[in-house]
Amino acid sequence: MEAFLHQLVSGLAAGGIYASLALALVMIYQSTHHINFAQGEMAMFSTYLAWTLLQAGLPYWVAFAATLGISCAAGMLIERVLIRPVEKAPVLTVVITFIALLVIFNSVAGWVFTHTVKVFPSPFGAGLLPRNPFMSPHEFGSIVVTLAVLVLLYAFFRFTPLGLAMRAAALNPVSARLSGIRVGRMLALGWGLAAAIGAVAGMMVAPVVYLDPNMMAGILLYAFAAALLGGIDNPLGAVVGGFVVGVVENLMGAYVIGTELKLTVALVLILGVLLFKPAGLFGRAVVTRV
């Protein structure tokens, strides 16, 4: 029973990471209808940034906040400079642009920081929590942090004028312009927020999987699965999907197929959703006019 609970908790902790990354993917998809293949590598790069700041002696939460800020700014810059020009371009062109970003982030990280695996500290301490023999402080802290991020985002979008403007811009850009919303800025801000969320995911997962340039590839795949499962245009769905994928992946890995084929589970999930329920559990079925 204890082992099962432990797997469940690990699954939730991992799920929080997937949920965050999936949310970043959904945010970008909602506003641009593009899938950001580079989301994982951007998160990885942000984590290296945090590591550099920590190495320079900054206290953890200061480095955390600074990384969020820099990642947000970088995300906005990338949108403005690289993504805006190909906004209306054919799909293959856009896919190639994202792949190019993926490749550049990965290789520059490998070049600047080398491929030597690095230890990334957890701010929550090691060992086990006093009353919980099956949950480590980091798992607990990770779940709390990701939930906090999600709640803050929800509040931002639901209750602030800027959040409303961003939602409007994503839902109906022309009507948004007719209400005076500067849609371009909203897009850039969306990218900035997505980059910041990715940074949080990276910093929460790095203590567990250790920091190296290829750490996010598998995680990105799970995030894709989660986003698709929840409905690629549904933020709440992405979050639910993330936790579901995390728990399922962990339980299947522990009890059914062993840890070796976990990525195949993600692949099967992705193919399954795309083929049988492309709108996901919560998304809207998209009907295109012929």
Binding site: V91, I96, I99, A100, I104, S107, W111, L267
Partner: protein
């Protein structure tokens, strides 16, 4: 939103000029192994192999508009098929090629069926997932008897047939060149005729094409199968050339380098496969001297540059650059003595 940039497929009609160029190219390629070192011949073999792979990918993505980020998987299947046949069942190397082709055709066709429902980003996503999952599947313990697990399988490079005074590398190169030439001829024949036009029509105006009687599903799944076949044959040749297969040779970056190759070489062209192959074989060699990570950073940068400036790739640019040069020469000649 259109799937591909409006790049018209390259003209493939047989003209005297083109035929002459092909003959010249083949002549040069046949002579090279005798003037280059064994290692350089080996590199050239790799380039020819990748040319076959890129041609396969171009049929699917360039001509038919189905974006695949997962062709590394078919490359791996072809390679493993060849290795398993040679290692476990002593099949001669040349016989593994049709087997690899057939196996990959089946896998490609099978993947092409669900791919019918996926478009653009979603197909890219599904194939990307395939690419990421492939190394893990290859390492799976339960399949170890077949795949050799993490260590992979080691095979022997073939000797030249009795009597010919060629080194292993030279023979393998010529063999690969012959296979490639056949495959290129077949593809060229296919693409310049009705099939090629149907593929492009399905890419650009799928509804109009279908309403004109083109069986979209059949063409698209077959395109997937054929594309996988070419890539699989390339994989088999690659396994033989490198003499082993192992899961870590087939990482997602391999699939991405294929995409880089056809983009640089030229989408919807046949010659683009050659340019792209040269690019992805020789650039890392040159860039490696700067830094181990440099090749990929350069790939990324070049992709971005191409995307914004020259989406048609090298194959698109060359004839235009050549025409520009010709025009300059002619105008200079005309304005010369009399001016």
């Amino acid at each position: 939103m259109p799937l591909l940039p409006k790049i018209a497929p390259a003209p493939l009609e047989p003209t005297l000029g083109r035929a002459a160029m092909v003959v010249l190219l083949l002549a040069v390629l046949c002579v090279l192994p005798f003037v280059l070192s064994d290692y350089r011949t080996f590199q050239l073999t790799q380039a020819v192999i990748y040319a076959v792979v890129l041609l396969g990918l171009n049929i699917l993505t360039g001509y038919n508009g189905q974006i695949s980020l997962g062709h590394g998987a078919f490359f791996a299947i072809g390679a493993y098929t060849a290795a398993i046949l040679m290692d476990r069942w002593g099949v001669p190397y040349w016989a593994t090629l049709p087997a690899a082709g057939a196996v990959c055709f089946c896998f490609g066709f099978a993947f092409g069926l669900p791919a019918l429902r996926l478009q653009g980003h979603y197909l890219a996503l599904a194939t990307f997932a395939l690419a990421v999952a492939t190394p893990q599947i290859l390492k799976y313990r339960k399949l170890e008897d077949f795949t050799g697990g993490v260590q992979g399988i080691v095979i022997m490079k073939p000797d030249a047939p009795a009597g010919l005074p060629l080194s292993q590398d030279q023979w393998l190169y010529l063999f690969t060149l012959a296979v490639a030439a056949l495959l290129f001829l077949a593809a060229w024949n296919l693409l310049r005729g009705r099939v090629g036009r149907a593929l492009v029509a399905l890419r650009d105006h799928p509804l109009a094409a279908e309403s004109m009687g083109i069986n979209g599903s059949l063409y698209k799944t077959t395109a997937f199968g054929v594309s996988a076949l070419y890539t699989g044959v390339g994989g088999a040749l690659g396994a033989i050339a490198v003499q082993f297969v192992a899961p870590d040779s087939f990482l997602p970056f391999l699939s991405i380098s294929f995409l880089v190759g056809i983009t640089v070489g030229g989408l919807a062209t046949v010659s683009g496969a050659l340019w792209g192959a040269l690019f992805i074989v020789y650039l890392p060699n040159w860039a490696d001297e700067i830094s181990k990570s440099a090749p990929w950073a350069i790939y990324g940068a070049i992709l971005l540059v191409l995307v914004y400036l020259m989406p048609g790739g090298v194959a698109w640019m060359l004839p235009r650059a050549w025409a520009l040069v010709l025009r300059r020469i002619r105008s200079r000649g005309g304005a010369g003595p009399g001016a």
